[in-house]
Symmetry: D2
Amino acid sequence: MVTVGIIGAGRIGRVHTQSIRTQVPEAVIKTIADPFMNEKTEAWAKENGIANVTTNYKDILNDPEIDAVLICSSTDTHSPISVEAIKAGKHVFCEKPIDHDITKIQEVITALNENPVKYQVGFNRRFDHNFQAVKKAVDAGKIGEKHIIKITSRDPEPPAPEYVKVSGGIFLDMTIHDFDMVRYLAGCDATEVYVAAANLVDPAIGEAGDVDTAIITLEMEDGSLAVIDNSRKAVYGYDQRAEVFGSKGMVSTGNDSATKAVIANEEGITSEKPLYFFLERYMDAYANEVKAFIHAIETDTDTPLGVDDGLKPVLMGLAAKKSLEEHRPVKISEVLA
Amino acid sequence: MVTVGIIGAGRIGRVHTQSIRTQVPEAVIKTIADPFMNEKTEAWAKENGIANVTTNYKDILNDPEIDAVLICSSTDTHSPISVEAIKAGKHVFCEKPIDHDITKIQEVITALNENPVKYQVGFNRRFDHNFQAVKKAVDAGKIGEKHIIKITSRDPEPPAPEYVKVSGGIFLDMTIHDFDMVRYLAGCDATEVYVAAANLVDPAIGEAGDVDTAIITLEMEDGSLAVIDNSRKAVYGYDQRAEVFGSKGMVSTGNDSATKAVIANEEGITSEKPLYFFLERYMDAYANEVKAFIHAIETDTDTPLGVDDGLKPVLMGLAAKKSLEEHRPVKISEVLA
Amino acid sequence: MVTVGIIGAGRIGRVHTQSIRTQVPEAVIKTIADPFMNEKTEAWAKENGIANVTTNYKDILNDPEIDAVLICSSTDTHSPISVEAIKAGKHVFCEKPIDHDITKIQEVITALNENPVKYQVGFNRRFDHNFQAVKKAVDAGKIGEKHIIKITSRDPEPPAPEYVKVSGGIFLDMTIHDFDMVRYLAGCDATEVYVAAANLVDPAIGEAGDVDTAIITLEMEDGSLAVIDNSRKAVYGYDQRAEVFGSKGMVSTGNDSATKAVIANEEGITSEKPLYFFLERYMDAYANEVKAFIHAIETDTDTPLGVDDGLKPVLMGLAAKKSLEEHRPVKISEVLA
Amino acid sequence: MVTVGIIGAGRIGRVHTQSIRTQVPEAVIKTIADPFMNEKTEAWAKENGIANVTTNYKDILNDPEIDAVLICSSTDTHSPISVEAIKAGKHVFCEKPIDHDITKIQEVITALNENPVKYQVGFNRRFDHNFQAVKKAVDAGKIGEKHIIKITSRDPEPPAPEYVKVSGGIFLDMTIHDFDMVRYLAGCDATEVYVAAANLVDPAIGEAGDVDTAIITLEMEDGSLAVIDNSRKAVYGYDQRAEVFGSKGMVSTGNDSATKAVIANEEGITSEKPLYFFLERYMDAYANEVKAFIHAIETDTDTPLGVDDGLKPVLMGLAAKKSLEEHRPVKISEVLA
């Protein structure tokens, strides 16, 4: 039995709470911490069988009964709390990204070298049934040698301009998931990034200093190519597709929809849009990633997504930013200190 | 080189003319006959390289240079002209149905016994790319032993009530194609028919003494089951599907559409309707059946659809009529003589 | 808060237990009864937070703290326990079928008339996301007036011959779900049934006195037609489709598969088979039906599937049996009385 | 009636001959020229109703009865014969590309300025039913403002290495069609090109100095982005897809296959591969482009694809080449002399 503390009672903290409560019988949540803890949140915690609530996450780190923490707090706290938790000997599941600053991620790596607890980064899409099926087909050799990886990743709605300003930019905020997906499907790292991007969805995003539409081309270590296309707004829903093309064929996945119902009438043949909301789309993925984390603790094996898997997509994001700024292809090695 | 005469310059006569002209280099049309021959039709014939026009089909039967005739005249003339043509030693391609009266079809059979020319009935759907692919999969053993055959056959628009009155009823006019398709896919004959039917599309059809919506269940010689569902009006287009289910799997085919374009928007994911018009849907099938007829003549081999294949669906249609009238399953043997 | 007792700790009892525990916060399971209660089952009950276990379901009926029971015991006990539970003032969720004998169902109706508790029958498919989407489109008038309803329902594997002998036959055991689905989608009752059936899947099923392949045609109260095709064995998985065709169009649903992955190679374009196992396919439906039952209790409203909805499909099944035996269409009214 | 001469009796010359003969009644082919004219080709010409054959294309240019020529000879002769034909007052349909050298294309433009006959370039894909449906949806405003255009274009088999050497490279030989498609769907020109490419399919292609796998990113005049992915070998067939994504939705098209047959068995649900051969895939497009050319002559209107539409994709191809060589984004303006 793994005793868990959750740091952050926001949307994602609640998702993980629900997953653990309903789908991870091997774990129990003892405490949840949130600086903005209030009555409503306390009531929610009680309903979900969490014994303790606190405003101070250090209460969790200091509790010797707690084996593991899930860091679901705001992005800027991910790396410092990670370091503290590692030093306190807690296993750590940290939401993405660990940090936008690679020296901060380096500090987490250093802490882990000194105190090798389990550490997992929350790139949930690797745990999605569709992307796992693509990966499985690739690994089984169904498509032979990989030549081209294509990711389409489009949000249903753009974030608020205020959020855009603090988001770190589209590449660190949104594309970072796609960078992870490329690494997952390729089974190797990118060596170079080139970005073509524009501000087409909402002028406010441009005014906030960001782009909202992008084509990102990647050259991979194994010589294959990858391309990601991003938009901050697909009116038809959350568009999350992947395709891996190789010497023996292609494997691809489309989107999930709520139902398989199809209407045929004078207008045409109409099926449902993709699921609109990321929590719907990746509901099972969120549960699966936490299960995997608890499983790694219980079996004392590696987590499926270590700190290095947290670092690499940040490097890709920083290279993408530089590529856009300098209007040229940028090698990943250029953004390494 | 096969010299051909065409009897009937209506819609289907013109379809076959165009097929021969553009796709059957082994055949040449010498003469076309139509009792309502007029200037416009003559001009059309000339444009299509047909040397002679006549109002009297006997001119074709009497022409020793003509090897084969295509009977595209009104249904009531199919069997008598067939008999005359056979006696004149012409190979015959006869549009469906040969006749609604089985004694008339028997006369054609008798004529053929005496003068065994090539005889083919125009069940065009057997020559459709989709249905042929289903048949091919069945014959290749891909689905093992056949258990259930399902045909969906729905017209885009009901015929005029005046036509309904002389049509012989839905089973001899429309379902007859589906009866042929069941025989084609099953590779054997039906032994019994049961009909549930209703007048739901247009009251005028009911007033004309017919039904417009039907479920026809068939028991086949090999013990398998078949079911046809018919409607005289599918607003989304000409709906022509087939499914064969068996011990090792299922093969099915959907409809052809004009293009593969798909639009995703706030309403859903919309692709094109099936092709609306039977001449569009079966354009290639019409050409293929004539090619097959000419090929049988040239190679002196059996046509793919002999007079017996013209008789059997009529028997099934008559049994279906009787089933509806008597509200009970009817054996095919009951409608024989 | 609704306090629940579960009668029967077999497969379906456990499915409902899990649904209530993880998805129905408004209900708590106090006791589970099973005549074959053993240590393993007790351990499972404890893990699932159930306070009491018993071998005698009367302990549940006698417990004044228990508001509602879920009858998940063997089919022959459904109606007597229903009657007892109703008399004990418990709300009842009863697995399908209530009974194969309509006089027994009548006794349940009589008990309910005397003691009108909430009563729900477990036709889970009505709570499936796909079938609900079809129903919703029909109810929203998207297809106009209903003309043809088609249900394809094929199991992935036939039951054991021993089970077949006690199953009541395919129509009461398997088709009964499809009869309910026809009623659900049609929004009215059937008036007549005709069956064409065969023993094609497994000779042992025939030896057990049953068929394994069937086409069932139904005439509905509103004049529309319905057709069900059943097979006890679809090697490609659990095939559960529905189509409703009407004056303004058609709505249909295909099967769910585990993932959307598609592989394109020299052999073709291959996507995944339908989900194989009914518990996978209807996982959400099982949870939704129990939620609906608890909701009806809490809000003191009708359950979505009353005792009459349990009776009607049995009548249809009995008429289907009679149709097969007497080889003729059978009116539902013939099996009443 | 338009009298036509065909220059070049190779594969594409024969395709156009057949199209004109069977589908363009407004045109007649008087003469076909080929330097390698032989008995077999002469026989073929006779069968196709072509009166004259010659080894010298000048016989066609000098024939005052001939209104228009189709230049289907080897690529290096396209621009000089174009110039000669224009000077001779013939309308010209010229296979793509006009030339790899833009000064040669400039000479054609100069000739046209002096002698403004009809001139059409053979980018057949614009006449394909699927791409036209995408274009139509875009033009009808169905997707709002265009943001991202995606083209997937993969050949079923790589060309012979000897051909690769003289092909002008993948961008001028293969991608040139995709460059035209991007212009067609965008309705505007590209301003900049970036290429990431590799030699992954066949080492012989690399040895011949070319790449076989490429991701080409384009920035368009209207601010939108486009991306093309190319491979010289898709084992599952000729993969020709397009997608246009915009503010109100997305329109896309997949591939055509020979039939709609689908097999479901224990392995999965398998449909047919895309059509393998470009002549099959674009059969209708080849006929439509020639019809459009003849129509422009008859109605004295502009051809749908003028000499400028022949020049622009060559500029894009040259920019792509430069981008690959210099490993940087290249503006189209850089390759304009």
